[in-house]
């Protein structure tokens, strides 16, 4: 187990996630079971970093994977990779859950969120996808402090840019642009193409 499973990459034998998803789109439950094996780790890691609560996280993971099953017939590979699609669904759901908790008046949770330091390292403590984690960590170090915090607070903590601006005491417009140029720098460092 020295190599991380980079998902969507050519490392694993057999059909990749993209091909599996095409089978899932036709109702293939066996293929879905393999999609689960490839995607559930990243989905759970991401959802847990946003929600923190293990029980709620597993609930959301179930919802995400159910949505993957349900909407696989609508997945369009020309819009991006299968893993990007799945993790985008996962992030959206996790963020919606956090925000609805806030809207419901869960001020305590919100205050706790804002008090916590970005703690990207805390996230990576749990990380098991070694190679991928190392590469992402290395590239995050090429960002400015403000870029890195803007991106990671929104992504790993599910904060809206308004909350990020509040937390870092910077103007709203600055946060928006830091999110963009932070991700662009990250994209170039990771060699992402779409």
């Amino acid at each position: 187990m020295k190599e991380a499973v980079f998902i969507g990459g050519p490392s694993s034998a057999g059909p990749d996630l993209q091909e599996l998803l095409a089978l899932v789109a036709r109702g293939d439950q066996e293929a879905f079971s393999r999609v689960y094996d490839l995607a559930s780790g990243p989905v759970l890691g991401l959802v847990r970093s946003v929600l923190r609560d293990p029980a709620q996280s597993e609930e959301v993971v179930q919802e995400v994977l159910l949505e993957v099953w349900r909407t696989a017939p609508r997945f369009r590979s020309d819009r991006g990779s299968a893993m990007t699609w799945i993790l985008t669904l996962a992030h959206r759901r996790a963020v919606d859950r956090v925000r609805s908790a806030q809207a419901a008046g869960d001020r305590e949770r919100r205050a706790a969120l804002l008090e916590r330091t970005p703690a990207y390292d805390e996230v990576t403590e749990q990380v098991e996808a070694g190679l991928e984690r190392e590469q992402v960590r290395r590239c995050l170090r090429t960002l400015t402090e403000l870029q890195r915090q803007s991106v990671t607070l929104a992504y790993y903590r599910g904060l809206a840019y308004r909350e990020v601006a509040e937390l870092l005491s910077v103007p709203l417009g600055t946060v928006k642009t830091r999110m963009r140029d932070g991700l662009i720098r990250l994209r170039d460092c990771l060699g992402v193409s779409a």
Binding site: Q126, Q135, Y156, A194
Partner: protein
């Protein structure tokens, strides 16, 4: 309150960090801005790498639970067979809906055979309404997609978000809200242009579409901002209540 060019919101958009109104405005813009759509695809793939890097091992029981649930869960039909267009903002949805409404009216009229005059008139009315709705939503999309589109946001007292998108080139503005409570009985939301402190009526919000995107009636002209008030049904010539929100248009 904040102002920014729509196309610089790609990063905040893929991080799900935008307010709902801004999100809707940005998605409307995305439909008509291929370079923005390309950047969104790339940045979404980049964000997903952050997700992959956080992977953990899920508890074994979780898989059984998920597999059990999908066994009884129906899948959606593929795209194209869906009722409305697969993506796009409120404008695109509105367009699909109005076509659908029109088709339904015409089909209903045709179903009666030897169409009575009143039925035909009803169908023509429906067609006229549908066409007007379609023209409005096309205008909304055009404003969101304008190369000079700028936006400003503010929160309403109710906690709802509001966003205005202005195109000086098109001389038009679109107001978007999410979570706006229903206007009290006998009252209606009215939009205003702010001409340096003098409010100029910019139309009423259709109670049926209060959560959607609304094109402000009339030209932006020299207006420096816009406001929203609650007025008696039918609207007022001048505001009769304090504005729920005032948004300054971003400087060009």
């Amino acid at each position: 309150m904040t102002a920014a060019d729509l196309h610089t919101l790609t990063g905040a958009y893929v991080l799900h960090a935008l307010e709902p109104g801004e999100r809707a405005a940005f998605e409307g813009h995305l439909d008509a801005c291929p370079p923005c759509a390309q950047e969104v695809r790339e940045l979404a793939a980049t964000a997903a790498r952050l997700g992959s890097a956080a992977a953990v091992s899920p508890p074994p029981a979780l898989k059984e639970q998920v597999l059990r649930r999908i066994a009884t869960e129906r899948q959606d039909p593929p795209r194209g067979r869906a009722r409305s267009r697969p993506s796009g903002g409120g404008g695109a949805r509105g367009r699909a809906m109005s076509r659908f409404a029109l088709a339904a009216c015409l089909a209903a009229a045709a179903a009666f055979g030897g169409v009575a005059a009143w039925q035909q008139r009803a169908a023509q009315d429906a067609r006229g309404r549908a066409e007007a709705a379609e023209q409005r939503s096309q205008a909304v999309v055009a404003v969101l997609a304008a190369p000079d589109a700028k936006l400003a946001t503010a929160r309403l007292p109710s906690g709802a978000n509001s966003t205005v998108v202005v195109s000086r080139g098109q001389d038009k503005a679109v107001f978007l809200t999410s979570g706006l409570p229903k206007a009290p009985r006998g009252m209606v939301y009215q939009l205003w242009y702010d001409d340096g402190g003098t409010m100029r009526g910019a139309g009423l919000m259709d109670p049926a579409t209060e959560s959607d995107a609304v094109l402000l009636a009339g030209p932006v002209g020299a207006a420096s901002g816009m406001g929203l008030t609650v007025e008696p049904a039918g609207g007022s010539a001048h505001p009769t209540s304090d504005p729920l929100v005032l948004l300054s248009f971003p400087a060009t």
